[in-house]
Subunit: 458 residues, 2 copies
């Protein structure tokens, strides 16, 4: 039987003030950015280093007390909610950049540093860390949830950029996976097993990340389209031609309306692509020109460059605020922000069918997408205290997931499974989910590591 | 107790002529390209499809009979040697290209097709599959061993290019991992667990591979250097500047001598970089010019372009034949071709220290390297019937591995563990090897899947 009370008593004597049971702290660690109910843990621990994480986990393992790692709480499928109580481990005190290897293009960091904090530290080095999910998430959280985002088309997703990990296992053992060499074939790839495991297999306490050179030149562009298909077909053509585009974001008319209102912009309320090009001056100009030709051929118009940093910043700031801009359109509502990912040839159909489904129920829902990856997001805004609305939002989400599977895609390109998508994981992977559960039982026999997420353990 | 005889009897009735126990067939499947003794299996099965692979594995699992998958046998650490007897599964009859998704840039293939066969099939599509380990290996073998090679610096390694797998597990269950969408965060990343697992966790029966657009323009170049450091420093500079170089190979003076003799070339017998550039005409020219400037600044000379296809082919054909060219220098000898990989800032030191160690014993050993990745290969040529020579070759290899670890690298960048590097895997990963063994026991409780490779199971 779990004995959380005994575990917390022992943790208190280990950590002193760095173990909190104050209600305000518990509530803060029970929140989420989507529609799930607030679910506070029994206590929150603030370890200073890996050794303390190991001690915390050992104590919790002894008493069967659940352990949930916490970064800044921006995940969207309830990943960090302690749904069976227990102890949340907040990585706030583990924010160090341990090493920046300039010549070898990697950094070793602790999990609590956010991506923006890391890039501030890197500013003088000529290097940067490109993965950008929008939210200023922690590197630990982004690793644990296999995040990606707007720059994935050029720089890859988290799983492409994590070279090595230090992980605390359920019994407190500390292991190191991967290598700081650029490639390794030494044994099973445990790094990728922990990336995206959402805290259910171990707690990530150190990450070796690939860094990239800050590009010589950056320019951005926006382009208008009459419909989804013309925007998406432009993207398909660019991808097939191998154009080195750093960001390529679809934004639908509803979202444009919200961005105009929220960020004081004056864009035409139609389908848009937001693009960014990184490279040498010559390469950036060549790519932008080619992209202009492609979009024109596909029926796009109003192609506008933004080479000045302040214009680019304004554009991407607006894009990153899309979620909040859209929520601001319906004050007081809750939201389900859900993502799926399909082969890009199926993307226009997947988006159009989803919109048709939404509109057939008299609703509207904005769509934005990392379309170069075939990944799109829909935001359902509704009052969650209205049972009919909640049911409709869930059924629309369900059909969006199943539609992605029918089109050869996945039920989540970047948000992960958490508690929100467990049944769809089963639909997507069938028998392989049993293997995932075997992995979980092998690495966490007592079932304390973020229980109830991704797979059912028993 | 294993009952291989009973398993083979049942397999004979399942497969008829496609189960062979002819000595010539057994011997062929007991060979390897390095110094290990010939180790024939008890039988060789030639399945026609995934369902037959599943049936074969079920029968073998029932009788505790080892199962070893086989592509074309080009691995270098004894991966495919049936060291505990049993049944080798030869994928010769499973060579189909199941689907080429032109718009989505992927292909679905069976494991028995080789990379050159696949590229012939793709020739008319404008797409190609870039991973190139030198040998014309099968896609199944390259996936199972996490191969990479000369183009990794631009196009990534196998693990970057395998999107999804079909795998037959030890009990005959068939699972599907990954997605045909460009990214997925749906559950644990089982794809990367099987890529590089060398047949010890399951048998790969279908692979979904990323394809890439054939570049508009290709040019190649060679450049001479007075020493290792000037060549490697040129590479470091190019990597830091993010120059989009498709291949960047170091070839040492001994290897140049061998290539000159074997391929009728007339290169100066000094340190060389072989380079290839892929992109638009303008980008290729710009990159080549920048690379010429870099190499000149670092003390290189004799920079020569090869824009004609026949010149490029000759160059890379020579590079690919390096292994055979070097063996031809000492006819009748055996070889250990071993690889390690280090952060590139440590590469010149790692290579120079290795050469010094070799020469201090009165030996010579050629070095070639995928230096943009920090990966290099040394070939020890000797008479394996001479116990002193074998012992010296092994001790030099051992120190090369330990040196790579001291410099923050890995004991194998691309050859894998097989039977040759198991003890070094322990040195590299320590406690994590126990977790690898846990994975093995979980997925293969009866221990039939290519036993005795990567990790000790019991």
């Amino acid at each position: 039987m779990p004995n959380n009370v005994q575990a917390i008593t022992e943790l208190k004597s280990l950590l002193g003030d760095r173990l909190s049971t104050a209600q305000s702290v518990l509530n803060l660690h029970g929140e989420n950015e989507t529609y799930f109910d607030i679910t506070p843990p029994d206590a929150v621990a603030f370890p200073n280093d890996t050794a303390e994480v190991s001690e915390i986990v050992k104590i919790c393992n002894t008493h069967g007390c659940p352990v949930v790692p916490w970064g800044v709480g921006t995940s969207l499928e309830g990943h960090a909610l302690p749904i069976r109580g227990g102890v949340t481990i907040d990585m706030l005190n583990m924010k160090e950049v341990i090493n920046v290897a300039h010549e070898d293009l990697y950094a070793i960091v602790q999990p609590g540093i956010t991506r923006e904090e890391l890039n501030i530290e890197l500013r003088a080095t000529g290097l940067f860390f490109p993965v950008d999910p929008g939210a200023n998430a922690t590197i630990g959280g982004m690793s644990a949830t296999s995040a990606s985002g707007t720059t994935t088309i050029k720089y890859g997703k988290m799983s492409d950029n994590v070279m090595a990990l230090e992980v605390v296992l359920a019994d407190g053992r500390i292991i190191r996976t991967g290598s700081r060499a650029k490639k390794t074939s030494a044994g099973y790839d445990l790094t990728h097993l922990f990336v995206g495991s959402e805290g259910t297999l171990g707690i990530i306490t150190e990450i070796t990340l690939k860094l990239h050179g800050q590009p010589e030149a950056i320019s951005a562009a926006v382009c208008e389209f009459p419909d989804t298909a013309s925007a998406v077909n432009s993207v398909i053509m660019a991808v097939q031609m191998g154009l080195p585009i750093a960001r390529m974001e679809y934004v639908d008319p509803m979202s444009i309306k919200a961005l105009n209102a929220y960020s004081s912009l004056t864009m035409v309320e139609t389908h848009h692509l937001f693009m960014e090009f990184h490279g040498t001056e010559a390469a950036v100009a060549e790519t932008a020109n080619r992209m202009k030709d492609i979009t024109t051929n596909m029926g796009g118009g109003g192609f506008q460059y933004a080479t000045k940093a302040e214009d680019r910043t304004k554009l991407w700031h607006a894009r990153h605020n899309a979620y909040y801009a859209m929520k601001a359109q319906k004050p007081g509502t809750d939201g389900i922000s859900t993502d799926v990912c399909v082969p890009i040839s199926k993307l226009a159909r997947a988006m159009d069918d989803t919109i048709a489904d939404v509109e057939s129920h008299g609703w509207q829902a904005p769509i934005v997408g990392h379309v170069g990856d075939g990944n799109y997001h829909v935001l359902f805004l509704f009052d969650r205290t209205n049972a009919d609305d909640l049911a409709l939002a869930k059924s629309l989400t369900s059909r969006m997931n199943m539609r992605a599977l029918e089109l050869g895609g996945t039920v989540t390109g970047e948000h992960g499974i958490g508690i929100g998508k467990m049944k769809y994981l089963q639909a997507e992977h069938g028998e392989a989910v049993n293997i995932m559960a075997d992995m979980k039982r092998t690495l966490d026999p007592t079932g304390i590591m973020n229980p109830g997420k991704i797979v059912h353990q028993n």
